[in-house]
Structure formats: structure tokens, C-alpha cells
Amino acid sequence: MRTDQAGIWLYAVADRLPAFRLAGLTGIRDVPLRALDAGRLTAVASDVQLSEFGEAALRRNLEDLDWLEGVARAHHRVVEALAERAPVVPMRLATVYTSEAAVTGMLAERAADLAEALRRISSCQEWGVKTYADPRQRAQHEADAADRPAGDAPARSGVAYLQRRRRELSEQRDSRQELTDSADLVHARLCDLALDWRLHPPQAPQLTGSTVQMVLNATYLLDECQAANFAAAVAVLGQEQSCLRLDLTGPWPPYSFAEVGDGSR
């Protein structure tokens, strides 16, 4: 019966993580974690039911936000706990195998790539910096515009309207350019402190629950001893760039920097 079939969900790969170091940790649906070894590498996994995590079920369930949230948080909880114990390369969400042999086969086949990825992100953390247009700044612009006299022409004339409209459009262009320039400067400064960086697509206001426009959704790979300096730099840049609001998240396990071999993006 299909519902009895077990799959193996992978969380991360580590450099030889002995099973006893997983004691007490559970994964998705509170199932205990297991260690699957091949050579120097250990894949950390837990069993899942294919009735819920098989191909057809995954296609359906991934579109259910409640389901997705529960699984994503459980996956993250494990990856984070592992990252506290040893350097790990996180696996992408929903990496499910149907046999132990397939997992160890993958470890053997990708051993060189995985070892290289482990070496690259060892003692590193990922920190996210979301850059928003500062709403106070926009409110100030609008207030300034409203206070200003309408121009030389009589206030209600078509000419006055056109003058005002032209000025508004020009100011919008200027302020958009200022936002872009400031965000570029912030990113360049932060890149100087980071080992690597990635840009995620800016999050839509509907997804963040904020009405404020996100200009840049960047994430940085840092040597963990640089984290405090980086956070301080973000604070300073946030004050210097008055048109922006910077939002720091982290530390994250280095999800965004875990590509291996041909998986380069």
C-alpha cells in the first residue's frame, strides 16, 4: 500500500557528523533524525511518508501555504540546530529520496562538490539586508510639495496644473534615482565586508505586510567573526542614507551560498 511507503527527507550534509550528535533532535512531523554516511560525508535525514511527501503529494502540498510554512519551519529548525553543531551544507527544501542506497549513492557521486561547498562555507554565516524606501522620507517629500506655491500662473489655470504636474513627475524621478543610488552604495559598502553575496527578488509589499517599497533584498556570506562589524556597518549606513530603511536578518545557515558544482547560479 502506497501510504506505508517511507521516503527519506534530507536536511543537510556535514563532514562526518556522528549519529550520537543528533540525539534528541527531531525533524518534520517530530520524527527522529538519522545520519546516513558515505566516505567522509554525512547526510542528515528523517523518514517521511510518501503519501504526504511523494511526488504527487508534494506538488499538491507545496501550494498549500499552511503546509509549506510548517514544513519550511521544521526544515529550518533542523538545519539551524545542525549548523550549531558542525559546518553543514543545507539541502533545498523538499529533497526526498526513496532509499538509503540512493542517498549514499548521491553522497558518493557528489562527494568532491559537497566537500568543496563545505569548505567554502565553513565558519560562515548568512545575513540578509532588506533595503526599503523610508516612508518618513516620502511623507516629507509630499508635505514639501503640498506647501509649495503652485507657481506663477493663477492657481486654478491649466498652466498651473501642468507646471505642478511636471514638477511632481520630475521629483518622483529624482527621488527614485536617489533611492537606487543610495541602495547601490549600501550594497557596495556591505560587499566590501562580505565573502560573497546574492540578490533575492525584492519582496512584494503584499508578502511583507508592509506598504513600504523594498528596493533591494540582498544576502551576504560572512566569516562569523565579521558578524558584529557587519551589523554595525548596517546600522551606520541606515543612518547615513536617510532615504532608506535597512532591515538586518540573521544569522542564517548559509542557504543562499550552498550551490555545488554545476548548480552554479
Binding site: E63, H75, A94, V96, A227
Partner: protein
């Protein structure tokens, strides 16, 4: 779908002090948020992480996970916020 599971939903994030990242400048690390927004997490777990092929039940090549997640998010958010929310950040 209820509103509370969305995106900035509060989830307490407990971390051990030793991995707080650089303890010399406590003030800087103290700004760390104590909860993770789902949207930040999905940015990473759906677009990051190692992609492997083989006998995976669902190859990521078959389904664009990011599209899936965005569709799931947008659908649910649209349902919450009403018809006006269909427009994404296209005016950026």
C-alpha cells in the same frame, strides 16, 4: 486561510549565545530580530540549498519551487487582502 500564519507571523527564535556571531560588540548583535518572517525563510529554503538529482521523488527541475511558493503566497495574500492586492511590486 487565517491571517496569523502569514509572512511576518511571530515565531520565537531561540539561539544559543555562543553562535550569536561576534560577541565583542554586543550592541550590534542585540539588534538581531527575535522572529523569522516566513517570506524571508522561503527566500532561502526554496531558492537556496543544494540541489541534487538522482532518485529524488520530485526533481526541482520539474517544478519551479520559487514559482510554486510565490503562487502559494500570492494566492493566500490575495485571499486575505481582497481583489486590490493582485498587483505586485511592479512599480518598483
Amino acid at each position: 486561510m487565517s491571517a496569523e500564519h502569514v509572512l511576518s507571523g511571530p515565531v520565537i527564535r531561540e539561539r544559543r549565545p555562543e553562535i550569536a556571531g561576534g560577541t565583542r560588540h554586543g550592541a550590534a548583535t542585540a539588534r538581531r530580530p527575535e522572529r523569522i518572517a516566513l517570506v524571508d525563510l522561503l527566500d532561502r529554503v526554496l531558492a537556496g540549498g543544494v540541489v541534487v538529482a538522482g532518485e529524488v521523488t520530485l526533481s526541482v527541475a520539474e517544478v519551479d519551487m520559487v514559482t510554486v511558493s510565490v503562487r502559494a503566497l500570492v494566492t493566500s495574500v490575495s485571499a486575505l487582502a481582497g481583489p486590490a492586492s493582485g498587483q505586485l511590486a511592479e512599480d518598483l
